[in-house]
Symmetry: D2
Subunit: 341 residues, 4 copies
């Protein structure tokens, strides 16, 4: 099939390469000419402008957007006048699913289709395949199955679930039509919410292992600090790279995220390249907001999100309030040194 | 009554002054001679050593320890050989209740009594009175009622609870024999666990008010940052000192901690004197450990404790793990600047 | 002054009674005629319909709505055609502040004013006064100061904050113009978010005290249950009504919520009248959503909210997922009995 | 090699079968004769008593305990008089690492060795292999490498971590000598703590997906219930079995736990066989206690643990306190029906 791709960043470019490798034709555009040129040399057809991209694409067109969520509306606004009835616009980025509902309605009135595709797999997806969570009306989604199947990892990417037999459903190949417009990004949103929780679970556990030697360090003893009661139980010097590698085989907590962590720790057990300021890109927040609207308790997913906020200094004022209160009722002066407990 | 006080820090000194003011006789000792001298000028009898303190105190003695929890065992070890059967040792500091159980048993074998008194009220207690949570055997506790009554705030410190009438029980005066050895510090431990939770609730809420102007600040829009969808809803510039003052009258969330916060914010709405490194002195930790032993869920109290750990940099490694994972799967580079979202 | 009150439920009726007692004239309406009649006998002027209410009120009118948040828009829709330019509509209920912004703009276009008043104090407010958090344009708010001052508790409701002197600002009397439309309900929203956190802190702590006797109960020991390692440390039978009463005087955690808890436990230490299904009325949710929009971590306030969701059975499916996983990897069969640990 | 196994429950029996299949000789004992007989028919040598087991095992003996943690000390007490210097006792169950330290010291004084092995893999381990986290002195651990290697999954169980080359270390085969006595169970403890967090992350996310249809259900609107503001955004009927299957291929959140969840949901999308009472077996609790001793914040792991406590009704009293407070300040009556929000 033929597909027009807008946005050739990390994700867009690697998806195009996977599609090309599977025999699909890709016309590509990006604001940065170098990104276009790089893919041209890999076999894509370049376009210097949106207009050129659309002109080079045959009707009914399939236009895939792979741009930051904040820019999707502006792109669609431009595309509206370039596209024709029957064309399909796909947003494969990290849009809020509520925007999908609005956009699908807007394009539907113009006779065009809008499909939202939550895309997971990261930069490894070019070789490994992408997990695709798809929302939209059935007729548009069905037309694109060859594209989705090419991007998805395929059934061999995981052992078949015991009890499943016969022909593999699309979900076993790694793509799924989850429901009407927005359904794809809703599922992707929750996917990312879960991802935050999983990541935090590993990170917290590794933190506990790393500090299992605190019994070797002296700790202050004063009215504001409780001494460690049993230093003899905290004398371990654990080698995190080996432990994480160990858990990859046979343990209950094996996962792809663990594989990645093993790789990162293999390179540097101290992770000194990182300062620990952790971004969040929206889905974790929206997951919590959906949970609250639904009255579903999500303490783990929330804690993971707040951990990220806090890593960026967003709790400082609240902590100043705590220190001020302590000073008010107890005359406690803030400890300044790193070893304050 | 006569009472020997060991430890003349913020709490010990102010308690002695309250006892003196109520007509009790206090013999006092501290490692710092200046602290002893200061109280002598207020009417206490000074002692330059433990031995002198004990020699100056009439049998059956009442010796009150007001020293950091880490030093209590050493003090008792010294006192053991100086005291006589029938004497009472009181630990009014922040000991772990399990230590009380052990100490009470040890002194019991010597014919002495041990009483644990959880003391709340902070530096304001000299005038306001202290809330005393008491553990020990009844015969020892009962003997000390005049001391407890003098230290406690008295019934007028709060409106009488609707439905209570007749003679005021000790709990209405501000002291209570909570149970056998350790009971006092167990109740004080939970008191402080609750205190952490209350403080955090206010601090978080004030943080939300303070940031209600984020709609006025630009926020980055890129693949790693979600834009603020509705900046028009975050245009408020709230005056925290006024709002906290407001809540002191008639609201559901009025409290003494709120009174203190109003005072702190009145002095400096920015709390610039504080950096936000928040200590914890043990009780919050022990409360969680008790909750876990009891299988009682304490998500709020735990969150409050962790907030303090995190304020002191204890989450940095976990956050580095998160950044490393994000780099592994998404090629995400950590944002360094303060405004990274 | 004259004020028209719509909605004579628990809150509306008691506010009218306070206003009448302070010499204001109240015209009142409610869908339930009995509610109107009750207040007429207390000195209010009754109205059988909205039209009658408005007709009996002199221009420029002050119309206070005290109805469930879900009905405010419908009321305003009806009022729009009955009111005249210069009239003021006040929403004193628990509206979402974003609705206030919309409503204020709509009424502004008609020459009318809209004021949002977050009202705290509960059913005790009739005698104790209400804490009023006010949003709106200054000219409308200023006109109503006599009403606000009558409803508010007044400066004597709390000791003056150290450092404040001279004439008392409105915040010291218990009402405050917090900012433009929505500001009142924003502050009230956060007030309630804090309230949830405070309540949960007390509730969790009391749970820990109540279970301090678990060492007396046998606990299963099998592959799925960890035995209690130190039953000797959990032998306490704490009397919660006495302890809560104790904390009311001199402790750091004294508060109005604690006063109320003392009253409830005084009536029944087992709280047997309650099953523990806890409602939430919106503000707690909105506080978390605001925190997330602002990227302010609120782990304590969130935990308190989720506790309420969970109390209503909203975590059951997630828990079934956990049980299913445990069965899958460990062959664990769910324990059914109450004493399963 | 020859190994004596005590305890032939789910885990012990399947480990023996794996060892037999790999050519090791196993002498086996269990309190239940049928369990012994079953393994005899699979090629193990049965023993009707501890004494017989030890008599049939050649010195230096290797005795592996696979019994509930609560029974390990009693077993060791019996074994002490039956074993000889140079013999090794292995605890492969879920002991608290502090017990390991004590036991290792006790056996060391008798000239015997104690090794603690945290064993992960569940019932699938017989075919898949077990992940073994090992603590003990090097000379004892090294002697047992053939046993560990037979139980472990081997290097082919996971793709080799990028950057690793040459001969595979033991951690790449699935077993690791983590440190001195207790180190194995410490690492296993944290492993399980992480496991709780991972499980909860999935469970919460699935809960959010399952309730994405709440916009179709009416919700009460009264003073105690906030209406759902945007029912149009919650109209999805997600098919959880398909979505979980989808995530198994190419997504960031793929894991063995997800594989198991896909299997469970494949069998019954409603998980109707489970009521949602979730046990915890100790490690999750100890992980939190270690974290607190180390001052490492673990909000996610704690939330996961508390979720389990709450699932068993352990929050009911705290919730009754909340309801009582609400009744006190607002006259709120508890809602009883299932649809109360």
């Amino acid at each position: 099939m033929q597909l027009a791709m807008i946005g050739l960043g990390r994700m867009g470019a690697s998806m195009v390469r996977r599609l090309l490798a599977k025999g699909h034709e890709c016309i590509v555009h990006d604001m940065q000419p170098a990104a276009v040129a790089a893919l041209q040399s890999d076999g894509a057809i370049g376009a210097a402008s949106l207009a050129e991209l659309i002109a080079k694409t045959a009707r009914p067109r399939v236009v895939w957007l792979m741009v930051p969520a904040a820019f999707v509306d502006a792109e669609i606004e431009q595309l509206k006048s370039l596209l024709a009835p029957g064309d399909v616009v796909i947003d494969g980025g990290n849009s809020y699913y509520r925007d999908d509902i609005r956009r699908a309605e807007m394009l539907r009135e113009l006779g065009m289709h809008y499909i939202d595709v939550g895309t997971s797999g990261g930069v490894a997806g070019q070789g490994r395949g992408y997990c695709l969570m798809i929302g939209g009306v059935p007729e548009a989604v069905e037309r694109l199955v060859p594209i989705f199947a090419a991007l998805a990892p395929g059934i061999d990417a995981a052992p078949r679930t015991h009890g499943r037999s016969g022909e593999a459903g699309p979900e076993e190949q790694g793509f799924l039509h989850c429901g009407p417009p927005g359904a794809g990004h809703f599922v992707k949103m929750v996917h990312n919410g879960i991802e935050y929780g999983l990541m935090a679970a590993y990170a917290e556990g590794l933190g506990v292992l790393r500090n299992a030697n605190v019994g070797k360090c002296g700790r202050d003893s004063d009215a504001e600090t409780t001494p460690l009661r049993n230093p003899e139980f905290y004398q371990y010097e654990f080698k995190l790279p080996e432990i994480v590698e160990l858990w990859r085989r046979g343990s209950v907590i094996g996962s792809w995220l663990l594989d990645l962590t093993a790789h990162a720790l293999r390179k540097d057990a101290e992770l000194a390249a990182y300062s620990g300021r952790v971004s969040d890109s929206g889905e974790g927040r929206w997951t919590i907001e959906a949970a609250i609207d639904e009255a579903v308790p999500t303490p783990v997913l929330s804690a993971a999100l707040y951990q990220r906020f806090t890593s960026r200094g967003e709790a400082v004022f609240a902590n100043q309030v705590l220190s001020a209160m302590r000073n008010e009722f107890g005359g406690h002066i803030e400890k300044k040194s790193q070893d304050a407990q």
